[in-house]
């Protein structure tokens, strides 16, 4: 949304439904990155000041954005470079978190309570998740597209019921009082709450660089070939199924890093975190950011987490939407984005008129929010205003498109007397 601030026409006359981040000019992607880095820098700067709002902003909103961004980036990686929409990534970070929870906890009421060193737990969690990812990836590897989406959704929901039913490992209440390594500190320790923020930042940067690097290796290039034309890649001698399997394994590894951070932040993991709602949350972040651009994952995660935390501060709407109706709001936002701007906020420039309208909406709503609700209202207002602007642009475009269609039908009726076949 703020992309348009920075001016400069970006290319990208990609066909609808086009795949691959190659459609996005380097500028667009760089701007998304700059935007998020700016947010993080604001966070780093504000973390020093003792204002409670700012502490909350850094320790909760930005930290969670980074953590969920890591997990969402694994979805974006699979869809952008492999053409696979995976809904199993929530399960992957859940499996990692449950493994750590069972391995490191002592004296808890649930789980195995093995009481191992937190770092052993981390290694074990990542290892188990990656191995499971390989297995599940192998099973799904001969499918693609919608089949892949449905199979991975089935994985995710079955995984949820697994942890609900198997009381030895978790049960409905989940594992509590999970220990983190000493350098993270205790959750009650108010002196260094931003250590987790910096840890998440490091992991996020490493994940981003890793996924970018992998996409340029021979494996990554072959993976993009598999995405575009599996039949041709197969006849060229590439093992299509194994490429998909290894991509899924890598995504599971990345999601497990998100799981490590998640369990360090929450100090607990319950099946409710990975139920259908949790699965959709992660997908929603990826969609908002633009499911084909890696940088968008963190942006989408930030928008999601900020709205989740500041939903009661959305001026104009807070009379209609109570705090507990956050999911209605986020569902409506996703609906607007998917209908009006299918490439997410990163693909804003592809929709005619969306960028200026989003900017106007963000400015107006943001200013009103700042006046009535302060900082929180400003953040929430900017996000909701930008989405409203995008929606308005989409609506206008849709109406304009239909005017042309109506005219075309009318003129053809007059000239030939035949109704053209419409699709």
């Amino acid at each position: 949304m703020i992309l348009s601030l920075l001016g400069g026409r970006t290319g990208g006359a990609a066909p609808a439904g086009g795949t691959g981040s190659g459609d996005y000019s380097r500028n667009t992607r760089r701007l998304a990155l700059i935007l998020f880095v700016a947010l993080v820098l604001v966070g780093v700067f504000q973390g020093i000041t003792p204002d409670p709002f700012r502490h909350y902003f850094v320790d909760v909103v930005l930290t969670r954005s980074l953590i969920f961004g890591v997990a969402a980036a694994s979805i974006v990686f699979l869809s952008a470079f492999g053409g696979m929409i995976s809904l199993a990534q929530t399960l992957m970070y859940g499996v990692c978190a449950f493994t750590i929870g069972n391995a490191v906890t002592t004296g808890g009421s649930k789980g195995l309570n093995l009481g191992w060193n937190p770092w052993v737990g981390v290694v074990l969690g990542i290892g188990v998740t990656t191995a499971l990812g390989f297995l599940m990836g192998l099973l799904a590897s001969r499918s693609s597209g919608l089949y892949y989406l449905m199979i991975t959704l089935a994985y995710g929901v079955i995984g949820y019921y697994f942890f609900v039913q198997v009381t030895v490992l978790s049960g409905f209440g989940g594992v509590n009082q999970v220990r983190a390594p000493d350098f993270i500190g205790e959750p009650t320790d108010a002196t260094n709450p931003e250590r987790l923020f910096y840890s998440s930042l490091v992991v996020a940067v490493v994940v981003y660089l890793l996924l970018r690097y992998v996409s340029r290796t021979p494996f990554g290039l072959a993976l993009q070939g598999v995405r575009d034309d599996p039949v041709r890649m197969n006849s060229l001698g590439y093992n299509v199924a194994m490429h998909r399997t290894w991509a899924f394994t890598l995504a599971a590894f990345v999601a497990s890093l998100g799981g490590v951070l998640y369990v360090w932040e929450q100090r607990a993991i319950a099946p409710t975190a990975i139920n259908l709602g949790g699965i959709l949350n992660l997908l929603v972040m990826a969609i908002i950011g633009g499911v084909l651009v890696l940088e968008g994952a963190w942006l989408g995660a930030f928008i999601f987490v900020a709205l989740e935390n500041y939903v009661r501060n959305v001026v104009f709407l807070n009379n209609f939407i109570e705090e507990s109706r956050f999911r209605t709001l986020i569902g409506a936002i996703v609906l607007i984005l998917v209908l009006a701007c299918p490439d997410g906020v990163v693909g804003l420039r592809k929709v005619r008129g969306a960028a200026p309208l989003a900017l106007i909406g963000a400015a107006v709503w943001g200013v009103f929010g700042a006046l009535h609700e302060g900082d929180r209202g400003a953040i929430a207002g900017v996000i909701v205003g930008a989405v409203a602007g995008i929606g308005a642009a989409g609506l206008v475009g849709w109406l304009a498109g239909h005017r042309d269609t109506a005219r075309g039908v009318w003129s053809k009726l007059l000239s030939t007397g035949r109704v053209p076949v419409r699709n």
Binding site: L139, L153, A154, N275, I287, R327, G331, V334, V338, N423
Partner: protein, 357 residues
């Protein structure tokens, strides 16, 4: 079934790679083990081996048929929409739950009670009329979703899936607001009540009624698809939509009919399930979306026979696993679902009756 049997046994016109035939051998071994376990061994389970406790076995099979019947009703709508339009209806579970809630509200309204009514006062019309209302409302909602959100995106599979996901999020949240978070059942009419004695076991008439409904739905769909003009067009549309369109048939109308039918089946399943096997609560929508997904992944997308086979297999697994797993592990029955899914995917990535997109 011959196609599935051939696939299982590796009877094909070409050489099958070794790991594929190994997978088939493993599956045959697994099926053989399950049969031997259930019939002869079944040590430490709540039901006991079938040769020693045949009535328990029969009862489990009838339970499996009941749950399979509801799976079939719900999943057939899902597979119909997917087969014709390549639309993954992710809001299918939401429509299921919404129909149940509407039926419940109207039932309570007709009876003038709050809270779960006594079965004795629920007459014939107090169950059928809410069922019809729930199904009609949900069909209308389905038509609205299809016309407003999906029609102009036809062909963009992924975008349609994301749209229906967003709709399911909104619907799920709104249902929590309007109907609350407490689990409530729909009360079946007292005329479908009581038990029959059947080879030494007592079996609920309402369960037989559910099986009958499923058979009715299956037969009706079969007649519709095979014997009517609309069904002919739908089948032709599944095979080659552009060709059907080129022949001058209004495909949009067929799409709308199929989507309404799919939504109505979700609603029908919701009301029947809500009065027999489940209660209505938040989260039930996701549960039944999973059931539909598993059935169509096992059976193959877009195939009615596949939906029947898939729901039978899945129903058998969900009904037999809790009673034939050792008692300490009876709660691990979800693993049986995953094992079936994994086995089918290993040999038939597009399901037993499916074919590549």
């Amino acid at each position: 079934m011959t196609g599935a049997a051939n696939a299982l046994l590796g009877r094909r016109g070409r050489n099958v790679p070794w790991h594929r035939s190994l997978a088939r051998l493993l599956i045959i071994a697994a099926i053989a083990f399950v049969i031997v376990w259930v019939v002869f061994l079944a040590a430490g389970t709540s039901a006991g081996p079938a040769v020693k406790a045949p009535s328990e076995f029969l009862k489990s099979i009838l339970n499996a048929l009941t749950i399979s019947g509801i799976y079939f009703i719900v999943a057939s709508g899902f597979t119909l929409v997917f087969g014709l339009m390549r639309t993954v209806q992710m809001a299918h579970g939401s429509l299921f739950l919404l129909a149940g809630y509407f039926a419940l509200e109207y039932q309570l309204d007709f009876l003038g009670v709050t809270g779960t009514p006594d079965r004795g006062i629920v007459g014939w019309g107090d169950w059928w009329l809410p069922l019809v209302i729930g199904v009609v409302i949900v069909s209308g909602l389905g038509l609205f979703i299809q016309q407003v959100f999906l029609r102009w995106n036809q062909g963009q599979d992924l975008r349609q899936a994301l749209i229906t996901i967003a709709i399911s999020i909104v619907l799920g949240d709104q249902m929590i607001q309007h109907f609350g978070g407490v689990a409530e059942p729909i009360t079946m009419t007292h005329e479908i009540h009581g038990y029959v004695n059947f080879a030494g076991i007592r079996y609920g008439i309402h369960q037989l009624f559910v099986i009958g409904m499923a058979l009715g739905v299956g037969g009706g769909l079969w007649l519709l698809l095979k014997k009517t003009r609309t069904g002919m067009v739908i089948r032709a549309g599944v095979d080659d939509t552009p060709m059907v369109q080129a022949l001058g048939i209004n495909v949009q109308k067929v799409f709308a009919v199929a989507f309404v039918l799919g939504s109505a089946l979700a609603g029908l399943g919701g009301v029947i399930a809500g009065s027999s096997v489940t209660t209505l609560a938040p989260g039930v929508d996701g549960q039944w979306l999973l059931h539909s997904l598993v059935v169509v992944i096992i059976g193959g997308m877009g195939s009615l026979g596949g939906a029947a086979a898939g729901s039978l297999l899945y129903g058998l697994a969900t009904a037999l696993a809790p009673v034939y797993l050792p008692t300490d592990y009876a709660y691990y029955s979800i693993i049986a679902t995953f094992v079936i899914l994994a086995l089918v995917l290993a040999v038939r990535p597009f399901g037993l009756f499916g074919r590549p997109a």
